[in-house]
């Protein structure tokens, strides 16, 4: 019996870009630059970061939608990058992905029933005659009427489409789902419906999620463990309550304070960060956050801070914590 669903070790993903007139100079976007974490059964791991932090790349690389640059990813003890194409195809149904944009993630020319059922058929996971029933059942589970089974995606609103995408993943009875900003494109009243659906499905099926989001309030609501990413590295990892009540890294603090609170009577101390996120082609030396950090010193420019445990599983990568 394996103890972890997902085990990521020293994962790096660099994307080559060509520069110079004839593309002779090769440079790399260091999207993910050494990330380690573990997701245990039933755990919902929230990966938070701003655009360019590499959080989506982590999610997609774990599913081997890209080849890695370095490091290992183990899914239930199996090295995802060590298996051949045939074996990978067999593992696929167990680890699913829910996309950010529910409009482009459904084939416009395929009825939703077929979209949900086809993988069952392709993998031989159900008898042909049963597939329609399984699809109906899954639709109902995801909060959609089974009468919708023969409709096309364009007949649905964004929230309903996201339910269809979730149903497509759930039909395969996965153990692990990567949710890549699944509610970012939805309205507030619909967001809440989808988040509740994620929560219900997780509790009913004992699923594990990697929930990628830029919205800390949603992550707090849904996740049991949270990792904060900045420029390709994890800067802080802790249990939900610990992270939100006792943030240690200056970036986490700034991020938390920047989230607007829907209550005009609360006037909180806000840490406004200077400047912009640096480019991930030429990240700053030492601690990557030092260019925006209010507490940066000489040491931060020279030494890369390691992600270390400061007690009770609270990990942080900063010299001064």
């Amino acid at each position: 019996m394996t103890e972890s669903i997902i085990e990521v070790n020293g994962l790096k993903k660099y994307f080559p870009i060509k520069s110079g007139v004839f593309g002779q100079k090769k440079q790399y976007v260091k999207a993910v630059d050494g990330v380690d974490f573990i997701i245990k059964p039933g755990e919902v791991f929230g990966l938070v970061g701003e655009s360019g932090s590499g959080k989506s790349t982590v999610g997609h690389t774990i599913l081997r939608l890209h080849e890695k640059t370095e490091g290992t990813v183990k899914f239930m003890g199996e090295d995802i990058f060590g298996v051949d194409k045939q074996k990978l195809r067999q593992i696929r149904p167990k680890m699913q992905l829910v996309f950010q944009d529910p409009y482009s993630s459904l084939n416009p020319r395929m009825r939703i029933g077929d979209a949900i059922g086809e993988a069952l058929m392709d993998h031989g996971l159900a008898d042909k005659g049963d597939i329609r029933d399984i699809v109906s059942e899954t639709l109902e589970k995801c909060g959609l009427s089974h009468h919708y089974i023969d409709r096309y995606p364009h007949e649905f609103s964004g929230g309903q489409r996201q339910r269809i995408v979730i149903a497509r993943a759930m039909a395969l009875n996965p153990t692990f789902i990567v949710a890549d900003e699944p509610v970012a494109a939805l309205d507030v009243s619909i967001q809440a419906q989808i988040i509740n659906l994620f929560k219900d499905l997780q509790e009913q099926n004992g699923l594990s999620y990697l929930f990628i989001s830029h919205d800390l309030s949603i992550v707090e609501h849904l996740c049991t463990k949270v990792g904060i990413m900045y420029l390709g590295n994890l800067v802080e990892v802790a249990d939900r309550t610990e992270l939100f009540t006792n943030p240690l890294h200056p970036y986490t603090k700034a991020l938390l304070s920047a989230v607007p609170i829907p209550d005009p009577t609360i006037k909180k101390e806000r840490i406004i960060l200077r400047g912009e996120i640096p480019s991930s082609v030429h990240p700053p030396s030492g601690c990557k956050f030092r260019t925006r950090c209010p507490f940066a010193t000489e040491r931060c420019a020279q030494e890369v801070p390691a992600l270390r445990d400061v007690g009770a599983g609270h990990q942080v990568a900063c010299h001064y914590v």
Partner: protein
């Protein structure tokens, strides 16, 4: 989720999946232009394939007694310079022209979409090979190539009956590269979409990815190209036959019937020789294009019912 329990819990709940054909038929019936074209095409087919059996005349029997007669109650469209009944020949010619058009369309669509899909989906080496081949074929101007091949056929003294099939092959051989390129371009854009990433995550087989996801999205393009192709093939066959390089007499095709317009006296004084085949080509080509237009709209799932 346990599929066995699901099956029982859900029994009798699901309805039958509507068939694509029925659906399409229901929608296209509301399109007047497309339906008109469809009726006309059905008529043309019956006319060409059944008609000759009802005609008292044989298409190739020469009768010097009745040459170049204008339309009359005996010969509704008159007779030609060998005394053959023009109406009967028009029907027989239609058989050939329609077969050539449809068959060369089918061949070039199959070739073009399969090769285009393979080269767009796999990229790399297959892409390079297929596309360079297409480049070579496209860089040779089509009509001279067909002329050359036609002349070659004449030189080899191919039997008139077999010649037709060779003409079809020639036409589709020239027709596929353009289509393959279009399909490849479409596939390249679609393969980058999120729903294709989804098929990867679902672990679907390559065959399903290509045939259930990528190719259906090129259907609107395929239909437009297919209709243009049928029309184009009928026209090129006519052109070739008109030049004496395609279907050669005594076998009739709409193209070699118009050939009579080549002679000044026929053109000026015997319009019954070349007007009927001209109209047949014109109306058939237009109907095919209109039907294709209608089909493309109907097959778009976003169309309002």
């Amino acid at each position: 989720m346990n599929s066995a329990t699901v099956k029982h819990a859900n029994h009798g709940q699901s309805t039958k999946r509507p068939s694509l054909w029925k659906d399409t038929w229901k929608k296209i019936r509301k399109k007047k232009l497309a339906m008109g074209s469809l009726y006309f095409l059905v008529f043309i087919f019956l006319f060409c394939f059944i008609g000759p059996f009802l005609s008292p005349y044989a298409g190739q029997s020469v009768n010097s007694a009745i040459i170049n007669q204008p339309p009359s109650s005996l010969h509704w469209m008159g007779t030609d310079k060998f005394g053959r009944d023009v109406l009967t020949r028009l029907m027989l010619a239609g058989r050939i022209s329609l077969t050539v058009g449809l068959a060369s369309m089918v061949i070039s669509i199959i070739l073009g979409s399969a090769l285009g899909a393979i080269s767009g989906y796999y990229r790399g080496l297959p892409d390079t090979i297929i596309m360079r081949l297409a480049d070579v074929l496209m860089s040779i101007p089509g009509l001279p190539l067909l002329l050359l091949m036609g002349a070659l056929l004449s030189e080899l003294k191919v039997e008139p009956e077999y010649r037709i099939y060779l003409v079809m092959l020639m036409l589709s051989f020239v027709g596929w590269p353009g289509l393959a390129r279009l399909v490849r371009g479409e596939i390249l854009t679609f393969r980058e979409q999120a729903f294709m990433k989804a098929t990867e995550v679902l672990g679907l087989k390559d065959r399903r990815k290509i045939f259930s996801h990528l190719l259906p999205n090129t259907v609107p393009l395929l239909i437009v190209v297919a209709t243009l192709n049928v029309a184009g093939a009928i026209l090129s066959e006519s052109a070739l036959s008109f030049l004496g390089l395609g279907v050669v007499p005594p076998a009739a095709s709409w193209g070699n019937m118009i050939d009579s317009a080549n002679s000044l006296i026929d053109f000026q004084q015997r319009p019954w020789l070349w007007v009927p085949p001209g109209f047949a080509i014109f109306l058939t080509v237009i109907s095919i294009n209109l039907l294709g237009d209608g089909l493309r709209d109907v097959l778009d799932p976003k169309m309002k019912q």
